[in-house]
Symmetry: none
Subunit: 411 residues, 2 copies
C-alpha cells in the first residue's frame, strides 16, 4: 500500500562538527536517540546540502528549497517572509523588511538595539501605522509587531526597489545610519527616501507614546526608534496545493517559518507554549502535527531549540535537547500511511556558533522506501546511506514520488 501523507520534520540547525567537549563526537552522534535510530534503521538515509555544497544556508533559503521553491528564483531577502509571518498579506512586488524596536538616548545615539527586549509593542506599531503618512511618495505600508522587540514593515507602491541598506548601526553608542540605496537604480533611491521619511515621522510618535512614557517612569528603555533590515521583494509563489496537489500545514514557533509557510500556502497551526527555544512545548507540537495529518497531505514540523544551542556554542546542551526531541517524536513511529522525512535546514556547529555549509543528515522512512544498512541517525553514519548526497530541492520531489504525487516527465 502506498502512503498518502508526508511528514517533514526539520530539526533546525541539528547538524554539527566534531566537538572536543564531546570527545570528537557531534551533539547528534553523542545523543541517545532510539526513536531517530529506529527511523534510520527502517528507512533510507543520506546527507544533504540544502542549497549546494559549500553554501551556508539561511533558515529562509533552506526552508524554501525543502518546500520545493528553490530560492534562486523567488528570494531576494528575508523581509517579505517576516512580514507574512507577522500577518501581513504580501502581494508579489511588495517590499518587506525585518524591524527591531530600539532605544535612542536624548542625543540620538542608539543605546539599546532591542529596547530592553520589550514585549507587547502592538500599540506602538498601531500608532506608526496611523500616524506616518507616505502618500506623497504614492506609497502605502503596514507596520506590524512580532515576538518581543521584533516587527516587520511592508511597503506597497509603484517603483520601489529592494536594493537598500539598513539603518541599524550594529553597535550601540552611535546614531542610526541613514538609509542608502545599494545601486544607482531610481527604484532603490526611492525606497531609501521612503524609509528615511518613515523613520523621521515615526520618532515623535514613539517619543510621545504613553507606553514609552510609562516605560521611562519605570526606568525601562523606551522603544523610540525602529531599525529596519533584510529588504526583499515579494516573489510570486505558486500555491503549494496547486503545485503539488495536496494541502499542507506548518507547525513551527518561529515567525520566519510560519511566514514561509503562509507565502507558499501552508496553513499555520498554532501551538500553546511553542517557543522556538529548548523550553518549547514539544509534546504539544507533536500532538498538533498528528491532528494536522488527519486533514492535510503534507505537514512541516520545525523544531528550533538545537539551532539556538549551536548559536550559543553549547554542545552538551545541544546533545541533551536532541535527546528530548527524540523522546517527543516517539509517537510518530506508528503513524499510519505516512512517509516521514527527518533532516535539518542547515548545520549550526557549536564550534562556529553560526550556520555552516556542512551537509545535514537526512532520513526517509515509510512504505516503498528501500532501506539501507544505516541504523543510526547522525552526520557520520548517514554519510554512508543509500540516498548518498542530495540537495534540499531534491527532497520534496522524492517524498511526493513515494506518495504517488510525482508527475511523469515524458511518456
Amino acid at each position: 500500500m502506498t502512503a498518502q501523507r508526508i511528514l517533514l520534520i526539520v530539526l533546525d540547525g541539528i547538524g554539527d562538527r566534531p566537538h572536543p567537549a564531546l570527545g570528537g563526537a557531534t551533539p547528534l552522534s553523542a545523543a541517545r536517540t532510539p526513536v531517530l535510530d529506529r527511523l534510520a534503521r527502517e528507512g533510507v538515509t543520506g546527507i544533504m546540502d540544502t542549497i549546494a555544497p559549500g553554501i551556508r544556508p539561511g533558515s529562509d533559503t533552506s526552508h524554501l528549497a525543502l518546500l520545493g521553491y528553490p530560492p534562486e528564483g523567488c528570494y531576494t531577502g528575508r523581509g517579505p517572509l517576516e512580514a507574512e509571518g507577522n500577518g501581513v498579506r504580501m502581494r508579489p512586488g511588495m517590499v518587506g523588511f525585518r524591524a527591531n524596536y530600539a532605544t535612542l538616548d536624548p542625543d540620538g545615539l542608539v543605546v539599546d538595539r532591542r529596547a530592553g527586549r520589550i514585549h507587547g509593542t502592538e500599540p506602538l506599531s498601531k500608532a506608526i501605522e496611523e500616524g506616518v503618512d507616505l502618500s506623497s511618495f504614492g506609497v502605502t505600508f503596514r507596520f506590524v509587531s512580532g515576538v518581543g522587540h521584533r516587527a516587520a514593515l511592508a511597503l506597497d507602491g509603484e517603483g520601489l526597489g529592494d536594493g537598500v541598506g539598513s539603518n541599524d548601526p550594529k553597535h550601540e553608542g552611535v546614531p542610526p545610519t541613514p538609509f542608502e540605496p545599494a545601486t544607482d537604480r531610481a527604484e532603490d533611491a526611492k525606497t531609501a527616501a521612503v524609509l528615511n521619511e518613515l523613520v523621521r515621522q515615526a520618532r515623535p510618535i514613539l517619543f510621545d507614546h504613553p507606553l514609552n512614557r510609562e516605560r521611562l517612569a519605570q526606568g525601562l528603555p523606551p522603544a523610540n526608534e525602529v531599525l529596519l533590515r533584510g529588504a526583499g521583494r515579494m516573489g510570486d509563489f505558486q500555491p503549494f496545493a496547486e503545485r503539488y496537489g495536496l494541502t499542507g500545514a506548518v507547525v513551527a514557533a518561529a515567525t520566519l517559518i510560519t511566514g514561509i509557510g503562509k507565502v507558499v500556502g501552508l496553513e499555520t497551526v498554532r501551538v500553546e507554549g511553542a517557543t522556538g527555544s529548548i523550553d518549547s512545548n514539544l509534546e504539544g507540537k507533536v500532538r498538533a502535527v498528528t491532528d494536522a495529518l488527519e486533514t492535510h497531505g503534507f505537514v512541516l514540523l520545525n523544531i528550533k531549540g538545537a539551532d539556538e544551542s549551536g548559536h550559543d556554542g553549547r554542545a552538551e546542551q545541544k546533545r541533551d535537547f536532541i535527546e528530548r526531541i527524540d523522546g517527543a517524536l516517539a509517537s510518530f513511529l506508528d503513524l499510519p500511511g505516512t512517509v516521514i522525512a527527518v533532516c535539518a535546514d542547515h548545520s549550526t556547529p557549536c564550534s562556529v556558533m553560526d550556520h555552516s555549509a556542512d551537509p545535514v543528515p537526512v532520513l526517509i522512512r515509510g512504505e516503498g522506501v528501500r532501506p539501507d544498512r544505516v541504523d543510526r541517525f547522525d552526520e557520520f553514519r548517514c554519510a554512508e546511506g543509500g540516498l548518498h548526497r542530495i540537495r534540499g530541492r531534491d527532497l520534496l520531489p522524492t517524498l511526493l514520488d513515494l506518495i504517488g504525487k510525482a508527475h511523469k516527465y515524458g511518456a
Copy 2:
C-alpha cells in the same frame, strides 16, 4: 578552534584506471603512500568530477573550477592563460594564443613542429615584436617566449574575435595551414586576417635572424616559423582576494598553472629546480608552500610529474613518482591551523595516455572536518568516502566554509 588557512594540493593527472602492468591496480593504489593515507584517515574523502561526469577536463578548465571560477563563464581557450603565465598582462577582451617555434624547410614544409626543442628564443620573440606591424588593422600585440620552443601571442584591438583555427598542420612534411575564421562573424575573419599577416611578416625576420643563422651553421633546425593555437578571449576575473577575502599564492612549475594564478590574482612563488617533470625539486616546492602559508590564507600547490608519466603510458614510473610525492608531503602533516585538500585536476590513465573523465580522488583534512572510515588515498577507497561525489567547483566553497570565510545565503 577553526583553521585559518587553506592548502590545496593538486597532484596533476594522478587519477588512473586499473592497469595490467600493476595487476589491475592503479598507479596510486599500487603506490606505498603513508602520508596521503594518514591524511585520508584523519580527514574526509570522496571522488570529484572537476568539471562534470563524462567531461575530460583540461588542466586549464579544471584549475579554474578548483579555484572557484567555473570555466563555462570565463574560459574560451587556453591562449590568454599561457600569455599571462609568460608575463603578458592580459586585459579583458584581449585575444591570446599559445605559440610554438617550428622549422620550415626551403619548400615551405614544416619539418620540425618544435624547432629541435629549441631553448632561449627570447631574441626571436623580441625581433617579432619590433619588426611586425599590425597597425593597418588597428591592432597592437605582444609576442613572448615561454619554456623551450613555447611562446604566446596576445592581440589587442577593436573587433577581434577568438573563433579562429590554427596554422599548425599537426603533421610534418606539409605546409602550415592558413588561418581560417571558425564562424561567419566579421570579428573572427578579422582575427584570421591579422594572424595571416603576422605570420607573413614574421617569416623573413626569423629567416634572417643571427640566432637562426648560427643554428643552421651548427646543423640545428632553425626556428623560422610560428605555429599558433588555443585562441581565447580574456575573461573578466574578479580578483581572488576580493572574491574570497583572503590572499593567495601559487607554487607550480607549469606556466599554464602560474598563468591561471596570475589571471585570478594569486602571487606566483618561484622555486629553483621546479621542472614540472619527475625530476622536479619537490622538497623545494614544499618548503616554498610552507613559507607562503605564513603570509597567505590560501596556497595552491601543483605537482605535475605524475601527469607526464600518464601521458607517456608508464604505469610503474607513475607509481614510483607518486611514492616520491608522498614522501615530500610529510612535512605538511603538522601544519598548524591549516585545512589541507588533496586532489587531482583530472585523471591521466596510462592506458589512455591522455586526460580522461574518470573522477579523481579527493580528501579534506583539518579542524572541523567530519572524518569517514576511509584510511587510504586512492581511486577505489575514496569512492566510499563521506564527501561522496562532488564537482570541482564545490571544493573551494567547502574549504572556505571550514575556515569561516563562507557567506550566508539568506538569513
